[in-house]
Amino acid sequence: MNYLRHAWLLNLLLLCSQVSAVEFKQVQTNESSVTFGYKQMNVPLDGKFNKFSAQIAFDPAKVANAQARIEMDVASIDTGSADGDDAVVGKLWFNAKAFPSATFVSTGLKSLGGNRYEASGKLTIKGKTQNIVAPVTFQAAADRGVFEGSFIIKRLDYAIGEGEWTDLGTVANEIQIKFHIVVNATPSKK
């Protein structure tokens, strides 16, 4: 009996040490996506960034230390319309020549219990930076973790759509950004 109780304790210890020893930081870009949804004339459209890179360091046991940086190649945008793809890299929209990338850099991660977290960070698009807060879920199976979340930005906060496009009657101000990031775990260095 004594032996069994100790074994249970030992297992618990092992489990704890395993959890703290796992850090998710190998981003699987091929399996990940950064997509967005918006409305024009109330017609819902979906788009995505075909090219982006992400650096993530996340240890479920040390949530406060989590770090994320996602960089989107603006010119790789797919707006869901061929007409739109050509126009949208232009000066009035993203001005991709002057601002080739949009970045998200995390400033903090808070556990909300279970697999739910709240990420905060700075989103920079077209040279304009805004603080954002996004709910995130993290699902891990063995050494593979998936971050998923979405948040809404207002395009005019970033001057996305200038001139005639500031009209919000055609293209709505709200853009929902959705991310799905697959990260594999590596044993963290002690």
Partner: protein, 182 residues
């Protein structure tokens, strides 16, 4: 010329002219908007065009139901059998295109990934999934059907002119509102 031509009923007349009016708006609008450079105006015009098209489709369905339940007036015997057949054929094709043109537009929108949201409030289901090649194909189909419709409308109006000015009969008054004809 003493024949008193039986008229279509008022509902049929209203539907005919309402649909005609909408098509006369949607057709040039479609031609104009396609070549526009992307702008808020272009997006608005596309939506208006789609709303008009779906309105035509709804009215055509109502019209076909109305016609099926209300016998249209028979053509007078003064018109030759051959001409009567020609008239029925052209009218038959017109009905087919009144239906096929908006449906092809709806299909094309779906394939191109732009859902139709009627009057900006009522989202209609996408008839096919997003598919670039299919979208391109359906664009061609929509255009071709429109030119066939144009041709039929030209025939329709040519027949009207022939009856009015050559045959000098009052057949066209069958489709005019009451009191508007002698």
């Amino acid at each position: 010329m003493s024949t008193t031509t039986e008229r279509y009923n008022n509902t049929a007349i209203a539907l005919h002219w309402l649909i005609a009016l909408l098509i006369f708006a949607a057709f040039p609008l479609g031609l104009y908007m396609s070549d526009l450079k992307l702008s808020p105006t272009k997006l608005q015009l596309f939506s208006y065009h789609k709303w008009i098209g779906i309105s035509v489709l709804i009215l055509v369905v109502v019209r076909v139901i109305w016609r099926a339940t209300h016998r249209p007036p028979a053509l007078p015997n003064s018109i030759s059998k051959l001409q009567q057949i020609a008239s029925h054929v052209v009218h038959g094709f017109l009905y087919v295109l009144l239906f096929a043109v908006p449906v092809s537009g709806w299909l094309m929108s779906s394939a191109k990934g732009f859902q139709t949201v009627l009057f900006g409030v009522l989202p209609l289901p996408d008839l096919v999934g997003k598919d670039k090649e299919l979208g391109h194909l359906l664009e061609g189909v929509h255009q071709s059907l429109n030119y066939i419709l144009l041709l039929l409308v030209v025939l329709h109006v040519a027949a009207l002119i022939k009856h009015r000015f050559i045959d000098k009969d009052d057949i066209l008054t069958r489709m005019l509102p009451e009191g508007k004809h002698k």
